[in-house]
C-alpha cells in the first residue's frame, strides 16, 4: 500500500483556488421551486386568496350581513350583484370575501398550533423512545381510534359553538397525525450516527435536538402539515355546516354551503359557489405541499 502516494495534507496550491459559492439549504429549495410552475401558480393563488380575505372590508361591495327580502336568490350577474344573492338576499361577493377570512383562519391557525404542539410531542417521543414514547404515542392512539370527523363533532359538541372552540377542536383533531409524523421522522434521525457523534462531543440533549434533530424533522413535518390545511378547512366547513362552528349570520364558506343547500334546485350555480371556493383553496394548498415535498427532498 505504500506505493500509493499519500494525498498531500498541506495542499500548497489550494490558497489560490477561488472560493465556490454554494447555496444554503433554503436557497437550494428555492432554486428547485423556481422551475416548478404548477407549484408557483398555486402559491400565487393562495397569496391572492389570502390577500382577498385580508382586505375584505375594503374590497367587498356591500355589507355581507345586510339582507334584502326583495332580492333573494338572484342569479349571477343580476343588477349590482356580481355573483347573485343568497336565500336572504345578501350579496354573494361580499359574503365569499368575508367568509374567506373565517375559513382561511380555520384552515391555517389550527394547523400552526397543532404543528407546534404535535411536533414537540412527536420529537420528544421519538428522541427519548422507551417509556416516554409509549405514554405519548399510546395517548395519541386513543385519538386515532376515532374517525377525525366524528372526533371533531364530539369535541365541538361538548365545547359548544363559536370560533374559539372550533379552532380548539380542530387543533386537537390535527395533533395526533402530526405527532405521528414527527415521531417517525425523529426516531429515524435518532438512529443515525451523527447524533451519536454529537453526543460523543459532549453536547447536551437540548443542543442536539435543536442543532441536529429539528432541522432534519422539519421538512417532513412541514410538508405533511401543509396538506392538513385543506383538510382543516373542510373539517371547519363541516362543523359549521352541522351548526357546531361559527353561528349565523357570520359569513363562513361551510356555513354558507349549509344554508344554501335548500336552494340547490332554485339557484344551483350560486349554491355551489362556496363549495367551489373551498375546492380551489384546498387544491391549491395540496399542490403547493406536493411541490414543497419535492423541493425539500435533499438528494445527490
Amino acid at each position: 500500500m505504500s506505493v500509493i502516494p499519500a494525498d498531500s495534507a498541506s495542499l500548497p496550491a489550494a490558497q489560490g483556488a477561488p472560493a465556490t459559492k454554494v447555496r444554503g439549504y433554503w436557497g437550494s429549495v428555492w432554486n428547485r421551486l423556481r422551475y416548478d410552475y404548477v407549484t408557483l401558480f398555486c402559491l400565487g393563488l393562495i397569496i391572492v386568496i389570502i390577500l382577498l380575505a385580508v382586505f375584505a372590508p375594503w374590497l367587498s361591495p356591500m355589507d355581507p350581513e345586510k339582507s334584502s327580502m326583495a332580492n333573494r336568490l338572484r342569479p349571477i350577474g343580476y343588477k349590482k350583484y356580481l355573483l347573485g344573492t343568497d336565500e336572504q338576499g345578501r350579496d354573494m361577493v361580499s359574503r365569499l370575501l368575508w367568509g374567506g377570512r373565517v375559513s382561511l383562519m380555520m384552515g391555517i391557525l389550527p394547523v400552526v398550533f397543532a404543528t407546534l404542539v404535535g411536533g414537540m410531542f412527536g420529537v420528544v417521543a421519538g428522541y427519548y423512545g422507551g417509556k416516554v414514547n409509549m405514554v405519548i404515542m399510546r395517548t395519541m392512539d386513543i385519538f386515532f381510534a376515532f374517525p377525525s370527523v366524528l372526533l371533531a363533532v364530539a369535541i365541538a359538541g361538548s365545547l359548544g359553538g363559536g370560533i374559539g372552540n372550533q379552532m380548539l377542536t380542530l387543533t386537537v383533531v390535527l395533533i395526533p397525525p402530526i405527532c405521528r409524523v414527527a415521531e417517525t421522522a425523529t426516531s429515524q434521525v435518532r438512529a443515525l450516527d451523527f447524533v451519536d457523534a454529537a453526543r460523543a462531543s459532549g453536547a447536551s440533549t437540548i443542543s442536539i435536538l435543536f442543532s441536529h434533530v429539528l432541522i432534519n424533522v422539519l421538512s417532513p413535518v412541514l410538508v405533511y402539515s401543509s396538506t392538513l390545511v385543506s383538510i382543516s378547512i373542510i373539517l371547519a366547513s363541516g362543523l359549521s355546516f352541522l351548526g357546531l362552528g361559527v353561528s349565523p349570520p357570520t359569513a363562513d364558506w361551510g356555513l354558507m354551503l349549509s344554508t344554501l343547500r335548500q336552494s340547490i334546485y332554485v339557484q344551483p350555480i350560486v349554491t355551489a359557489l362556496p363549495g367551489i371556493a373551498i375546492l380551489i383553496t384546498s387544491i391549491a394548498f395540496n399542490l403547493v405541499s406536493d411541490g414543497l415535498r419535492q423541493a425539500m427532498d435533499v438528494k445527490a
Binding site: S8, L11, A17, L192, F194, D196, A197, S201, G202, A203
Partner: protein
C-alpha cells in the same frame, strides 16, 4: 508495564500528558455489557445478550491497537462503551492514569475531549442538512469555543485531511464522495483535539484505492498530532498494515492479544489461525477450497460451555467443553507479550496438544 514499545513516541513533549510515557493512554478493566432481551406481557427480562463479556486491555501512548473479529462479536459495542455512548454494566476505564468516573476521577466530559470516534457509515455520520464546516465546528462550539474560532479551526482541519477549505467548507454531505465524507468524519473527530481516536471500521466501506489514501492520511495525522489509535476492523490485511498490537475478539471475549508480527506469524489460538487462513492469497498455489471456519458463530445469548470456540474448533477436546481457558492477566503483561486464551497454549491444561509442563519434561 515499564517496557515501552519502539513505536511509542516521546509522550513527554505533549503538554496534555499526565502519567508519563510508561503510563498507558487508556486502560480498560473488566468491562461488561449485557443487553437484556425482554418478552412477555410484563416485559420481563428473559435472557441476556453477552455482547461484551469481561474484556480487559490497555493501549500505550502513540500505539495503534487493532481489534479484529467476526461480525457480531462485540467490536462496535466495545467502541461505544469506551465512548460512553452506551452505559456499561461493569468495569473501569483509566485514562492516562486517572480513573474515569461519575463520582471521582476524570469527568466524562474530559474523557470526551480526549477520546473521539470515527464511525463506520460515513454517510449517516454527517448531518445531511448542515454544511460540513458546521458539522466539524459543532463539537468545539459545544465545548465553549467561540463560533468564529471554531469555524477557523474547522477550515484548518479540512486542510489537514486534504480537502481544500475554500472549495469544500460550505458543501453538504450529499455533495461529497464516500472517501471525502470519511475525511470529513476524521476532521470532525479531530476537532476536539483528542489524544486517542477510535476508528470503528473507518475504512471498511471505502473502495481499495480510497481506503489506501485514508490509511496513509491516518498515519500522517498520527505523527503530526501525537495520536493513539484503536483501529477496529474485520479486514486482517489493513489491521496488519496499520497496527502495532492486535487484539482478537470472539463472542464478546478476548481470545488472543499480542504484537502484530508475533500474532500474524505465529497465531496461538485456533480462531486466530482460522481467521488468518481466511485471508485471500495473491498466490494461486495457496488457494484454499474449504473455508477454514465453517458455520455461524454460536448464539451470544447462550454461549457454549467452557471455551466458547469449542463448537467450531478442529482441536476441541473434553477439557475445552468443561473449562474455559484463561487469557492470563492482560493488564500486567508487557506490550510485547503474546497471550492466547486456549488450552493448547497453556502447559498443564489437560489438553493433549498442550506444551509439556516442567514436571512432565523431567518425568517427575
Amino acid at each position: 508495564m515499564t517496557l515501552v514499545t519502539e513505536t511509542a513516541i516521546d509522550a513527554a513533549a505533549d503538554p496534555r500528558d499526565r502519567g508519563g510515557p510508561a503510563q498507558p493512554m487508556l486502560i480498560v478493566e473488566n468491562i461488561k455489557k449485557y443487553f437484556p432481551i425482554r418478552a412477555g406481557l410484563l416485559n420481563r427480562k428473559v435472557a441476556e445478550v453477552k455482547a461484551v463479556d469481561d474484556i480487559s486491555f490497555y493501549v500505550m501512548k502513540g500505539e495503534t491497537l487493532g481489534i479484529v473479529g467476526e461480525s457480531g462479536c462485540g467490536k462496535s459495542t466495545l467502541a461505544r462503551l469506551l465512548m460512553y455512548l452506551i452505559e456499561r454494566d461493569e468495569g473501569n476505564l483509566v485514562l492516562d492514569g486517572d480513573l474515569v468516573g461519575e463520582k471521582s476521577g476524570v469527568p466524562i466530559d474530559a474523557l470526551r475531549r480526549s477520546l473521539q470516534m470515527v464511525f463506520q457509515d460515513s454517510y449517516s455520520s454527517l448531518n445531511p442538512r448542515l454544511p460540513i464546516e458546521q458539522s466539524i465546528a459543532y463539537g468545539p462550539k459545544v465545548q465553549g469555543i467561540k463560533p468564529k474560532k471554531a469555524k477557523e479551526q474547522a477550515q484548518d482541519l479540512l486542510g489537514k485531511v486534504g480537502l481544500r477549505p475554500n472549495l469544500f467548507s460550505q458543501r453538504y454531505p450529499h455533495e461529497l464522495s464516500g472517501g471525502q465524507k470519511q475525511r470529513v468524519n476524521i476532521a470532525r473527530a479531530l476537532a476536539l483535539d483528542p489524544r486517542l481516536l477510535i476508528l470503528d471500521e473507518a475504512v471498511s466501506a471505502l473502495d481499495k484505492s480510497v481506503e489506501a489514501q485514508v490509511l496513509n492520511l491516518l498515519s500522517e495525522l498520527k505523527e503530526q498530532l501525537n495520536l493513539t489509535y484503536i483501529f477496529i476492523s474485520h479486514d486482517l490485511h489493513v489491521v496488519q498494515y496499520i497496527s502495532d498490537r492486535v487484539l482478537v475478539m470472539y463472542l464478546g471475549q478476548v481470545v488472543e492479544i499480542g504484537p502484530v508480527d508475533k500474532l500474524y506469524s505465529n497465531p496461538k489460538h485456533p480462531y486466530t489461525q482460522a481467521l488468518l487462513a481466511c485471508r485471500l492469497s495473491m498466490d494461486p498455489d495457496e488457494r484454499v477450497d474449504a473455508a477454514p471456519l465453517a458455520g455461524d458463530p454460536p448464539n451470544p445469548v447462550n454461549p457454549p460451555s467452557g471455551c466458547r470456540f469449542h463448537t467450531r474448533c478442529p482441536h476441541a477436546e473434553d477439557i475445552c467443553m468443561a473449562k474455559a481457558p484463561a487469557l492470563g492477566d492482560v493488564l500486567k503483561a508487557t506490550p510485547d507479550q503474546h497471550l492466547a486464551a486456549c488450552h493448547m497454549a497453556q502447559a498443564g491444561s489437560g489438553h493433549s496438544k498442550a506444551p509439556a509442563t516442567l514436571a512432565e519434561l523431567f518425568n517427575i
